[in-house]
Symmetry: D2
Subunit: 397 residues, 4 copies
């Protein structure tokens, strides 16, 4: 067993962490003000930072074919980026574009890659992912109501999707749509994934959804209706009926990334809590010397470290043994990490008093982000069930 990162990873980690600390975090306040003034535009600082990061080679690190990094090697970099809500985009490592790029890289045709993957890798456009639906429990994928029906040399899309994150971004040009193609096919061959340019006729953005009171401008979480949207058949990714297969492949690394970013966010919250606790004075003492505050700091440290190790191990196992062998772990991190992050962030908010609830600190927004990850991509309960079924199976009579 060796818990040390290799030298190249340590070097990249140092450079990413430094960039985040020296360039990205100080830009947060300006970014927030720019967004408050003009919510659905890209604040100029973002493009400046992107250019700088790319110039330093800190670009597309998430994609093994680009960066040469395995999942477990990219993981600490994702953590470093997770400290700031701006950072992932700066390094072109933001969801859902990362997942979409992976899909295009693994399953896209040459034409699809040329048209969509290239500008995504260059950070020129952005994309969204249209899977969740408002009228059915999306935790049970067999509920999906949207359709993707071939008609001659076209594919016709119908249905309403929501929580398509990034849909409001001015650069969002394409979405990946998932719909039911053949309900008579075997359970995991019924759905297709289709690339849909956002300006295709029949695509209507109904509204941007508030998530715990936030629209997360300029990204947004969109609700979008597809009404007889017609596209050439070659818009289908990898062929009809392969939607689930692709969705599965997209899951493993994606969850590791999400979770590592959340760990970075939790680290930042703990850091802010420690800074506050050692400087703010009440009843004649720094908060760190009052009541159970020290215990809470310790609890947070322990929780973060456990969660990180769980994710790193999952990443390693995914690399070493593949997705099928890592199913329990991937669901485990999906349950464990958001819960951990919420408890750490909530503690940090409490230590900041009323200020912690405002946007003077990044904590209230962090809480909303972490809370949404107890639901996004399957609620806790679905993942607990996966873990339990695999566990019980070992001991069935």
């Amino acid at each position: 067993m060796d818990f040390a990162h290799p030298a190249r990873v340590l070097d990249l980690l140092d450079r990413v962490a430094t960039f985040v600390r020296d360039e990205v975090e100080p830009a947060e306040v300006d970014h927030r003000r720019a967004v408050e003034a003009d919510p659905w535009a890209v604040p100029p600082v973002v493009e400046e930072l992107k250019a700088k990061a790319r110039a330093q080679g800190l670009w597309n690190l998430f994609l093994p074919s680009e960066s040469g990094l395995s999942t477990v090697e990219y993981a600490p970099l994702a953590e470093a980026m997770g400290r700031s809500p701006l950072a992932p985009e700066v390094f072109n490592c933001n969801a859902p574009d990362t997942g979409n790029m992976e899909v295009l890289h693994l399953y896209g045709s040459q034409a699809q890659q040329d048209r969509w993957l290239k500008p995504l890798l260059d950070g020129l456009i952005r994309s969204a992912f249209c899977m969740t639906e408002p009228d059915v429990a999306s935790s049970d994928a067999t509920n999906m109501a949207a359709t993707a029906i071939p008609d001659d040399d076209e594919i016709v899309l119908n249905g309403t999707k929501w929580f398509s994150t990034g849909l409001g971004h001015p650069n969002c040009s394409v979405v990946i749509f998932m719909g039911l193609t053949d309900p008579t096919a075997p359970r995991h061959a019924q759905h297709s994934m289709v690339l849909v340019p956002l300006d295709t006729p029949g695509v209507t953005i109904d509204r941007m959804l508030p998530v715990f009171g936030r629209h997360d401008e300029p990204y947004g979480h969109g609700q979008v209706t597809f009404t007889d949207v017609r596209l050439p058949l070659d818009s289908v990714i990898a062929g009809l009926g392969r939607g689930f297969e692709i969705a599965q492949g997209r899951l493993g690394p994606g969850r590791v990334h999400h979770c590592m970013r959340l760990i970075g966010l939790a680290e930042r919250a703990l850091e802010l809590a420690c800074v506050r606790a050692t400087r703010r004075v009440a009843f004649g003492k720094p908060l760190a010397d009052l009541g159970g505050n020290r215990e809470r700091v310790a609890t947070a440290r322990i929780a973060i470290d456990q969660a990180r190790l769980l994710v790193l191990h999952t990443a390693w196992k995914l690399d070493a043994h593949g997705l099928a062998a890592t199913r329990s772990e991937i669901s485990q991190i999906k349950v464990a990490v958001p819960a951990m992050a919420l408890s750490v962030i909530d503690m940090a908010i409490q230590l900041h008093g009323a200020a912690g609830m405002t946007d003077d600190f990044p904590l209230a927004a962090a809480y909303a982000a972490a809370r949404s990850l107890r639901l996004a991509d399957g609620p806790d309960e679905v993942h607990q069930d996966v873990v339990a079924r695999l566990e019980l199976k070992k001991h069935r009579p």
Copy 2:
């Protein structure tokens, strides 16, 4: 021991609850849309509902001198109002006006009552309370930096306050300001409370603070600076140096009201959870039949009932034995009830899936409201300390 409410209370409770269910809750969606369109105006429906409620005698029920209700008798009515964020204003029972009216009723001069209490009781104006400060830990009241210094026949106010809820409301006309008058006086006779018309020169509203991403329009949580604000000495409530005494008297019933409203909010969340759990289907079953959902419903029911009884007992003790004898209980409910409400609301959100995070349901906003009450009016930790000190005192050597 008798846990039954008297007949008059049961009658009022029935009428308030019916009004909330039939008139207020159905108006919530329109209200939200009106606020989204014009955030800092009063949606017309509010004035309509106020008129209707007043016509039915459901008005100013919080104030014993108006309604003839004791604290424990008003408590279930406050719970019924807590179900909807709109309801308290509709019945003219909204914070902080209730507390301010109590202060004016108990401590105001005839002139102060004529000028401010009357229009408040008529629901014609609104008010705010300026106590918390951004630069010091307000949990420790001795930290207060704002000043209220008499100068001849005037009083001069300086300082910055924040989290003055209601300050953004178009009808907000007056605030009660608390400031340091004499640091050499005994610990609890150093501060004064002053009535400040909002249009007094030197009063500057700096900004409206987001609380967990929400501005709670049209009420708002204001940050406001007082710069050499000069008012006649008779703007002081009850005399110089009596600020703490007044603040204390304001606390007991106010906390009971807050907590009962939160219990109403938790009841609504549980009701929504049950409705969802019995209708939404996943994996072929209603959510109520999946995993631990039933256990969570039971846990919520038990938590709400315990919390309600704790608050009712506190209210009763406040009425029967006075504030000094009820100090522990008043801090106990301040700790117990928001924590309970958060857990119930969070459970309800989780049962609603992604929709629970949006404003299509009142749950996400309810969570923010409940969370802020773990900090407003003293963080949990300060109240736990009060409870612990009183408990340990019984057993000191």
Copy 3:
């Protein structure tokens, strides 16, 4: 609403509490030593204390027909008795005899009452209750495998029961046995309750069961086998097939008693914790001034007070509205109170350091007792399900 106890209850409470503090608690150490020396004998101090309590009229207070006390009036007395594991027997208010006496009082024939109820009320004999079985999940009563089959003018009992508390006591003379009489009868008319003198041929005590390492001598938790035990038909209580009906009636007050005793135990643990926290010194400070200890004391106080009010309200509702209307509440207290007691006792143990794990303090034994009540008389999960079903029913489509 009136949370005050009536004068007669306050007088009894004062006398019981004083007796427990001055007579019973000081006898605990001697009692423990006597039991260590001779585990299955009754230490003489018990009979002395019983005589004293009876002489003071503090006897059989649990039984309304004897004491004139309603459930909610007896409740605070049960709490006072719960402080010491010895106290209930001293006042002739110990389980399961209380429940058995209630059953005999309500359902027993004159002959049954003469033979068994009288000496039980006099504290001359003790009894046990034989319901739970080792080989089936007793949480589901339809699983019961033991049989009580009429044969001419006799009833024949077969089966194995366990967790018959009190079976090891030298004075235990009779058990109430529950068995299946007619599996073809309606669901709640299949079982019978039978009075079985312990010396009846065919009754074999297999062993005394350790509960978390303790045999709770001289009471014991027995496993007992009934092999073709024949008794006259008039040993059946209230008639064949009425077992469930009787068991139900026995439940309500019994759970209130159990829960109030647990609250008394939790109060004692909190008192011990406060005494320790204000006297024991580490790192130069009393434990009460270290870390989160004060917060834990506050948390305990709040949890106890909430639990007590929940039980008192349940008792009141049972008196005022009957068992059928109080079904949810009776399950609620069964879930809430042991969990509360465990957390308070565990906190007290932790504050006592290693000593808290020994029998130098009553805490480790208290923990075992409270933990067993998460299983006895139905596990938490079964009661949560009752609460949830009743809650969801209100909102079903």
Copy 4:
């Protein structure tokens, strides 16, 4: 990063795990019966198993100089041994002998090693460790009252120690005593460690302490008084005043061992829970299909895996970077692992119903063992404080 164990470790792990499953676990029932019959004797099966294990080379694996295993390499073996309370002794890897052997190996003189280390390594004798005292808070080591005063060529010991685990074992021949030698010396050079043959005049075993109702025969937790115990000066380990230094060195690997054993115990509890959940039927379904039981299984799996990774990382860091760099981690595992084990074991008990409280399953005893580790070797609170201080230090102004 590489989470794989090397081949030699995997081979040993397979052999130890197989031995525990095939030889040790099946012997538990007989062992328990033997101990019940004759509590303070060594059941013959223990010596048989020891001989067998030794013959297979599964002996003294904990000691790097014997086994060639690093801390992180031994860790999974300790986990495998932790499944059964009998296993550690079978492999001669039981506390406190492991720690004592380490001390003798690292600090003992040749004579001390010949006299005590050799027979300990051969499993012929056992030892105890006398540090904790009844009258002071041992969490604060500066409280220690026992003395070890040199007098000419002798050292004179006085004081009372308790919780000396293993003191009741018939083979216990020697204890390591820690006492105050020079209160004027620097803080960490005041105490000495002394080897005391148990039959030295002046050594009196006062009693065996019950820990949560158990004496853990034939090991026992002893309270022992040293009255003017005189020993030659060469009984002191490593020299006067070096007690703390030695205690520190003993800590790191010892905590890793304790924690890994607890993880093994938690794994066994989870396994028992899964076996029960898939076989026991209530309400027509296996327990695994009822309520939140599956969620609880998932929660346990996640908690165990996180805890294991935290301990393995700590072990690795201890090996790679030494004790001083691993201080936070060593305290972290001390806090995290017992809490995790308690929650898993408690869940397993609940799933077993009343049987889980008895000794028919190893769960109730496991709970007591895990609970004691929240206090042994420093209570949670002390370790949380270590973690918090190191964390806050990074951010102090």
